[in-house]
Amino acid sequence: MLVENSRPHLFDIYNPQTSRFFDEMFATDSTVREHYETILTLFNELSPAEIEARKQIVNVFFLNQGITFTVYGNNEGVERIFPFDIIPRIVPGAEWDMLERGLTQRITALNLFLFDLYHDQKILRDKVVPAELVLGSKHFRREFVGVNPPLGVYIHITGSDIIRDKEGAYLVLEDNLRCPSGVSYMLQNRQAMKRAFPTMFGNYRVRPIENYPQELASILQQIAPSGEKASITLLTPGIYNSAYFEHSFLARQMGIDLVEGRDLVVNDNRVYTRTTRGLKRVDVIYRRVDDDFLDPLVFRSDSRLGIPGLINAYRAGNVALANAIGTGVADDKVIYSFVPKIIKYYLNEDPLLPNVPTYLASNPGELSYILANLDKLVVKAANESGGYGMLVGPHSTQAQRDEFAAMLKADPRNYIAQPTIALSRHPAFANDNSFTGCHIDLRPYVLYGESVKIVPGGLTRVALTPGSLVVNSSQGGGSKDTWVLFT
């Protein structure tokens, strides 16, 4: 006891600044939230050196597993691990149940929207969503109008980004309906946490997430055209893709072949893998290659990653793709602003998870508002991801704002703007051996086959650069283990 008292506790000097931000751990600057009480006690018992030592255990775990990304641009090919922050983010059971209902509603509606767009286009005829926005989107694949994907499902795997505002309200920031990545970090972060703090889990009842690969495998099984004993593969762009580790990880966890485009061949509208004993039929492809690169005969002819003839095999119903082709039209950042209306239109329900208010540059009135308030808004290109093509107004220079103003005027359809949200913060163990409040978001993974299934958890990304609001790993972000509690 005497020894413990001789040292200041790490959280004694943590400043949550609750007047400016919503802090996940502290309700006020001096009161910790109930579900974080045990964590606070446990971390207060540790010295910075002890925490640093646990952090090293995790870093070695990631490095030896090869969970690294390569920093390009020099010949050395420096490999770094994704920064992992040691203190877990905790979501109480009731909050999660609300998130789960909200996501289920949203994904169900978005899937109905996609089905409609590729069939009767009622929503466009009813003028709920302007037809020109959909038909003019580069992700709308008119070649797929009338094609019926198995079970009528387009978006088998999605990863919506969810944030909390200053009041702590959960908001959807974007829907990633194409090939969302990061789920392997969700799983590996849990493993890392169990290695570094084996006893900590005994103090909390954390919902397990380890069944994700099984759930994924079973929805892929459900969409197989041939039913029983389907042959499933995961199509990766290759080892230079930043998510390659994830592709191999998931293939291994599911026990399926990891293939590159050159491993597959199409003959008579059927897809096969090339094996040492000849050709082997493929029924389902979980593809982590963008639409544009899938088939050089239909999309980009310069693609080195695709399989000539794949799209015809898909149209003929001989192979299932997850996700389906053309889902990007519904996660366009302009379409995003219509999602509340889309939910209302198909389900006749009010959205359980609200959007972030969004201004469309294509709307002349809103464009002039955006131009007048560039220093306060976040401007995003409609089709970019990974934190690229983005202007964070309050952190921008005049030159950057001028550049964006010009781009907005030249191509208004391609831009939206949103108020700068003060994302909620969470303590992170920073380089100066203390806890600092850093902005976070949450990406849960939603699976959709015969029904919607969400593994309780997700990837909590954290902006480790002080003050930064951008959590993307390509922009200096890290991640945390995310604990969803039973109660």
Binding site: N64, G66, S181, G238, Y240, S242, R262, R274, V289, D290
Partner: protein, 362 residues
């Protein structure tokens, strides 16, 4: 199994074996010179240049260095990133191959290659002069650990057979190169009637670099003569680094893959390895000397390369159409197959699409 996966298995295994053999040559050479220094004035060039010849990299070496000094040769063979046969390059290539089949191999295998890679990547280059013994030991142990992990964790399917085939094909080739160069050097200097102590030390070094000294002594007692050493390293049936042993294991692996049995063969690779095995079985060391050891070994290396080509043709090149890449690849195969120079395989086709690969993200 996927042809691409089989090919990566095969090459992952070859590169690990190649790295280990290079570490062996270097380790023994370094210690040999320590012994010789005490006895006589040594022209170190005469001992370091052959190592470059073993690995077939003379021209490349001379573009970078003027002299065959211990420091230049060992750095070139261990750390040089532009030398595709350096230990670093071999481990990096083994790792790239392993990375592309990471879901097929046991995760412990991947972690071990990864550890070895990070060990080399972060090693201080001075260690080659300050603590070579422990450094080379670490490389050899790293390779043995990988093989042990593979042995203990990897399912005995076709993939395992490709790992075995790669390992023994590479090892047979490496042993033949070592024997060739050392014999050439030593036989010029040695007087057949009376073996001087220096020759004795050198022949011991040859055996040591194959970890064969102790095993050799059990068979031939203390008489170390060039013929018996050759007999042992080329034709011994039971020693795991002798050429004949490696060919037997290669044959077993290849026959396992194709399902062939004795006196039958399903592929050209089976036929060629069967032929080579029979030849070695019925060859004596006198037969080899009659033809000339160097010529015989060079012929052997070509035969091994042809077996490698046929493995490629039978299992890896399952193409229903030819694109530019395949044509280029076939041309490269042709070139390498016709001489006895070392065959390498990088991850060619990956590199030129790397930019597109990086674009895919959400």
């Amino acid at each position: 199994m996927l042809s691409r996966v089989a090919e990566s298995m095969f090459w992952m295994s070859r590169y690990i074996e190649r790295a280990e053999n290079t570490a062996r040559f270097l380790d023994v050479n370094f210690h040999l010179l320590l012994d010789l220094d005490k006895i006589t004035d040594v022209d170190s060039r005469a001992y370091w240049e052959p190592l470059i010849m073993v690995t077939d990299d003379r021209e490349r070496f001379l573009t970078l260095h003027n002299e065959f000094t211990a420091a230049a040769v060992s750095d070139f063979l261990v750390f040089n990133r532009n030398n595709p046969n350096s230990i670093f390059s071999c481990i990096a290539l083994a790792r790239e191959n392993a990375r592309s089949i990471i879901e097929t191999i046991a995760s412990e295998m991947w972690e071990q290659i990864n550890r070895l890679y990070h060990f080399l990547n972060t090693a201080d280059h001075d260690i080659l002069q300050t603590d070579p013994y422990n450094f080379y030991q670490a490389i050899k142990n790293g390779s043995h650990l990988f093989q042990g992990i593979t042995d203990a964790t990897f399912s005995r399917g076709v993939a395992w057979d490709f790992v075995q085939a790669g390992r023994y094909l590479e090892r047979a080739d490496n042993t033949s190169r070592l024997v060739d160069v050392k014999y050439h050097l030593l036989s010029n200097s040695s007087n057949k009637d009376e073996m001087d102590p220096i020759d004795n030390i050198q022949w011991m070094a040859v055996l040591k670099s194959c970890s064969a000294l102790e095993a050799f002594r059990k068979v031939y007692l203390s008489r170390i003569e060039p013929e018996t050493v050759m007999q042992y390293l080329v034709l011994d049936q039971n020693f795991p680094r002798s050429i004949y042993f490696c060919v037997q294991m290669l044959q077993e692996a290849l026959w396992h893959i194709s399902g062939s049995r004795h006196r039958e063969f399903a592929t050209n690779a089976d036929r060629l390895v069967g032929k080579l095995e029979a030849e070695l079985n019925y060859t004596t060391i006198e037969d080899i000397y009659q033809q000339g050891l160097h010529a015989w070994l060079e012929e052997l290396q070509k035969k091994l390369a042809r077996i490698g080509d046929q493995v490629y043709e039978s299992y890896f090149s399952y193409h229903t159409f030819l694109d530019n890449e395949d044509v280029a690849l076939a041309a490269q195969r042709q070139n390498t197959g016709s001489s006895s120079s070392r065959v390498s395989r990088a991850v060619w086709s990956q590199l030129d699409s790397s930019e597109q690969q990086q674009q895919q993200q959400q």
